[in-house]
């Protein structure tokens, strides 16, 4: 039982990293960014290729983030400079990344089990010696997610973070402040896809391989996490959105585990995610419509 719970926690924490990215695009920028379906496996491909080549696993962390950020800049540029609609820009980039990822990894499945990773190396082995080894993954993930959460919270409270938040809800205001709102959105997409690739990097090291199709449906899953988290905890004042997103990711994984335990196949999960996602969005829209009607009637 405890190993199932631990598994849920570990998976949830990896998806929480991805969800930080989705939180930036969907909640802050109001930009449905499908490029994460390509940037999540991009992070994994870069990581697997580097580790397979014998490089230090720690270096894969910043490199995968930067690779994702670069892809995000491309999505943003396609959208802002070429005027392609938001959804399409993401689809174009994630489609192109499929081939790029294959090129980087060299094959559609690149195992790195036998190599050192941030989860299994001599240092980790010494710290979590003996009976503690079963929690080492969870502990490392918790540390990573916590650091990322604090960094993101801190960033959103900087001048640049303020501008990013303003760009999502009122682009006229960004222009009034003498700033190019397109550039601000590109920056947001860079950050978001940096997080997505970072999540892919962590996942590749955790599961021990890169797999070409691992990105399919990631945007929807990440979005489900964000919406579950922010909707469930929106009434709890004082809880930061980033914390809610982490909780949402873990709750989502728990639901998935429960569904599989109840006899569903892992292959059914995409359909369940899609339906769940639709229900959440539709419920949110209905509530918004009601609120809008109330606002009009008074």
């Amino acid at each position: 039982m405890s190993s199932i719970l631990l598994g849920i926690l570990e998976e949830g924490l990896v998806y929480a990293i991805l969800s930080f990215g989705i939180y930036i695009t969907y909640s802050i920028l109001d930009f449905p960014d499908l490029s994460v379906d390509g940037t999540y496996p991009l992070g994994a491909a870069v990581t697997a290729a580097m580790i397979a080549a014998g490089m230090d696993p720690l270096i894969t962390l910043p490199v995968s983030f930067l690779a994702g950020a670069l892809a995000g800049i491309i999505t943003g540029t396609i959208h802002v400079k070429l005027g392609v609609r938001d959804l399409l820009s993401g689809i174009i980039v994630s489609t192109g990344l499929y081939s790029v990822n294959l090129r980087i990894a060299g094959k559609s499945n690149l195992p790195i089990f036998s190599k050192d990773s941030i989860f299994s190396n001599p240092v980790v082995g010494r710290i979590f010696a003996g009976g503690l080894s079963f929690i080492s993954n969870a502990a490392i993930l918790l540390l990573i997610v916590l650091v990322l959460k604090l960094l993101l919270d801190a960033y959103l409270n900087t001048r640049s973070g303020y501008l990013l938040r303003a760009a999502g809800s009122n682009r006229k205001l960004v222009i009034s402040l003498g700033k190019n709102d397109g550039m601000v959105r590109i920056l947001g997409l860079a950050l978001a896809n940096g997080f997505a690739a970072f999540a892919g990097c962590i996942m590749a090291q955790k599961q021990g391989y890169f797999e070409l199709s691992m990105g399919t449906g990631m945007m929807v899953i990440g979005l489900a996490n964000v919406i579950i988290g922010t909707q469930l905890f929106s009434r709890l004042g004082g809880l930061k959105a980033t914390t809610a997103v982490i909780a949402g990711a873990i709750i989502y994984r728990a639901c998935v585990a429960a569904a599989i335990n109840a006899g569903l196949e892992p292959g059914d999960m995409k359909l369940i995610t899609a339906v769940l996602f639709l229900v959440i969005i539709a419920a949110g829209n209905l509530r918004k419509n009601r609120a809008a009607r109330r606002a009009r009637s008074c």
């Binding site: 640049s160 303020y162 809800s169 009122n170 006229k172 009034s176 003498g178």
Partner: protein
């Protein structure tokens, strides 16, 4: 000084609906002028403001600010020295952020939006002072989201935010039109006070002829992309609402509405 020289602006060019709104249009606004612009719908008032701010391009002609050609400068760059308040109070503030965060954003205009703290706590007292000048009690609600404020409160904040840093021009785009009469009066008085205190050059488009007559030191009435009235100084002082209304009716009758 702001000058528009030989401005041409067409709408729907190349179609059967092609319409010439401005043809060889000139305008000069001297420093310190507070210009009220009135005119019927479609007379070109808002297009004029949009061309000055860079929200829409001109087809030909030049726009100069203090002798500097800004005709092809993007809107966000012009915003560095032009402050603008829109008709819609929602456009001047960020609803998802608190009053304090909004004030900090406005205060950072013209500086670098880098990784320093978004809110400088040492400026908090200064923001409180500015807000208390509005007389709306907002200084005690610093941590409230702006989205929960009323239209009038948000417009007052928009006005404050757009004039917080040094600007050359204040553009008021029917900024009282979406407010109830009492709130509109309040915002109008506030506007006048801020313009006087800061010695701003202001352009105000309004449908309220009383405001146009009472406030400012120059008045322009536009019709079909031309200035049909341009009064300043003592001449403007003598002009009351009745005179404006009769002139307004005169041009409206001409085009049959």
């Amino acid at each position: 000084m702001l000058s528009l020289k030989g401005i041409n602006k067409y709408y729907n060019p190349g179609t059967v609906n092609e319409m010439c709104l401005f043809e060889d249009y000139d305008l000069e606004i001297r420093d310190g002028e507070f210009v009220s612009i009135v005119g019927s719908n479609g007379s070109g008032k808002t297009s004029l403001l949009n061309m000055i701010c860079g929200s829409i391009p001109v087809d030909s002609g030049r726009i100069l600010i203090d002798g500097r050609d800004v005709t092809h400068m993007p809107e966000y760059r012009r915003a560095e020295f032009i402050g603008r308040v829109y008709q819609n109070p929602a456009l001047g503030t960020c609803p998802d952020m608190t009053i304090l965060e909004n004030m900090s954003l406005a205060d950072t205009k013209g500086k670098s939006f880098d990784l320093r703290r978004g809110t400088d706590k040492r400026r908090k007292e200064h923001y409180r002072e500015l807000l208390s000048g509005l007389g709306l009690g907002l200084e005690n609600k610093l941590d409230i989201k702006v989205g929960s404020l009323s239209g009038g409160q948000r417009q007052a904040m928009a006005l404050l935010m757009s004039t917080m840093t040094d600007i050359d021009f204040l553009i008021l785009d029917e900024h009282t039109a979406a407010l109830d009469p009492k709130t509109a009066d309040l915002i109008m008085e506030l506007t006048d006070r801020i313009v006087r205190e800061k010695g701003l050059t202001a352009l105000m488009v309004t449908h309220n002829l009383r405001y146009a007559a009472e406030y400012g030191n120059r008045l322009i009435m536009m019709h079909e992309g031309r200035d049909v009235l341009d009064l300043s100084g003592a001449e403007k002082e003598r002009t009351g609402v009745e005179l404006l209304l009769s002139k307004f009716n005169e041009i409206s009758v001409e085009c049959g509405n």
